[in-house]
């Protein structure tokens, strides 16, 4: 065999090497190491349209109070922000390590970030990677603070609103928040003390300026 190989010309040897490597390529599997994804665009678009991918903060609060444990609540913010405050039962996974964080494709995953953008991006990422049940908390932690932790009641609120507020008040206190009456000014909330820990001074601004896409072609 070896003697036979050495008898071949340089070109024939090259051809054999190419042929063997090419042939083996058939059985080598995908060269994309799990970093690309395919998605059903129509399917996703319909989900978005139906808003079937949202969980409101009220629903979430209800589940937490009832001790429902059929979901995993994921906090997408930085570790520092997570340590300052996070919604009870949440676990911290930054967007970058989402797909290798050991989330199951068939479990119910609820995402939240400061606002809605990061969780929407992460939602798309997971959906494209064939995670079946991914949801995001509508308007994120900001909404959680507004409605759950620091609900407020305007001075001129109707009787009906007052009844609703009483319910909210109970929920708020459950989560260690402080219901506000009389101000009706949502901007005042950042000064309020967060449960147990201090309120984060500012929300995480996406780092890095928008860089112009570089031409890479010929």
């Amino acid at each position: 065999m070896k003697a036979l190989f050495s008898k071949l010309s340089f070109n024939q040897k090259l051809a054999i090497v190419a042929g063997v490597l090419g042939f083996l390529a058939i059985f080598a599997g995908s060269p994309y190491t799990g970093n690309t994804a395919t998605m059903n665009v129509k399917d996703l678009a319909l989900l978005v349209e139906r808003e079937a991918d949202h969980v409101s903060v009220d629903e979430l609060a209800d589940w937490i109070i009832k001790g429902k444990a059929d979901y995993r609540l994921i906090d997408l913010r930085s570790e520092k922000e997570f340590n300052e405050y996070h919604i009870p039962t949440a676990e911290n996974i930054p967007v970058g390590s989402l797909t290798d964080a050991g989330l199951m494709r068939n479990e119910k995953i609820i995402l939240y970030s400061e606002g809605g953008i990061h969780s929407a991006q992460a939602w798309f990422l997971l959906k494209a990677n064939q995670y079946k049940a991914v949801y995001m908390v509508r308007d994120g932690l900001a909404e959680w603070k507004d409605r759950i932790l620091f609900p407020s009641l305007a001075e001129n609120a109707s009787a009906e609103e007052r009844v609703v507020f009483e319910k909210r008040k109970a929920i708020s206190i459950f989560f260690g928040g402080s219901p506000q009456t009389g101000t009706g000014d949502t901007k005042a909330t950042p000064q309020l003390a967060m449960p147990k820990l201090d309120m984060p001074a500012s929300s995480a601004a996406p780092a890095g300026a928008a860089k112009k896409k570089k031409k890479e072609g010929c």
């Binding site: 340089f10 070109n11 090259l14 112009k212 031409k215 890479e216 072609g217 010929c218």
Partner: protein
């Protein structure tokens, strides 16, 4: 080799040998060996940079800078030139492809000098005059520049790089290049054969 010997025939009086004529011109490499070398360079570009090779892009940067120097307003409002001029964060000639093409010139010169192939001459068939050949070269260059921009790349950027990456457009382009070439080759045979 034979082609070179012919090109150096007395008809090409304009030719000024750069190296001494008595140096022996070496033969070209086995095309498959040169191809493997070229492929490895391309592979290195993929591995190190995550991108392929190119050539015409560098000339586009050059042209854009030229247009910008002569008529800056005009260049600014032309979507094609302004894209190559960039957003002003760096000089438009500080481009990857520009440096790569400078390297191509140097690399070609190195290989040519090692093989004693540096020689002022005009590549053509004896059946055509130097003036005619130069005219054809110029017209061919214009078509090449235009076509390469329309196709978003030339033989290096599209055919070679895109071919290795199995891009659909690149393979369509490659077939079109050969089709275009073979379709008209007959009409220009005097220039080459």
């Amino acid at each position: 080799m034979t082609t070179l010997a012919k090109a150096a025939s007395p008809e090409d009086i304009a030719a000024q040998p750069v190296v001494k004529a008595d140096r022996k011109v070496q033969p070209y490499w086995n095309p498959y060996l040169a191809g493997v070398g070229l492929g490895l360079v391309l592979l290195a570009a993929f591995v190190i940079m995550g991108r392929g090779l190119g050539a015409s892009g560098a000339f586009t940067s050059l042209v854009s800078v030229g247009v910008n120097a002569v008529a800056p307003e005009h260049a600014k409002f032309n979507a094609f030139f302004s894209e190559y001029l960039g957003d002003g964060t760096h000089h438009p000639l500080k481009e990857w492809l520009v440096f790569e093409v400078i390297g191509v010139l140097v690399g070609g010169f190195i290989s040519g000098s090692l093989a004693h192939r540096i020689k002022g001459t005009v590549e053509k068939s004896p059946r055509i005059s130097i003036r005619g050949r130069m005219m054809f070269a110029f017209v061919g260059g214009i078509l090449m520049g235009f076509g390469a921009k329309l196709a978003r790349g030339c033989t290096s950027g599209q055919a070679l790089t895109g071919g290795a990456l199995l891009g659909v457009g690149s393979w369509a382009f490659m077939l079109a290049v050969f089709a275009g070439g073979y379709a008209v080759a007959y009409f220009f045979r005097r220039q080459w054969t």
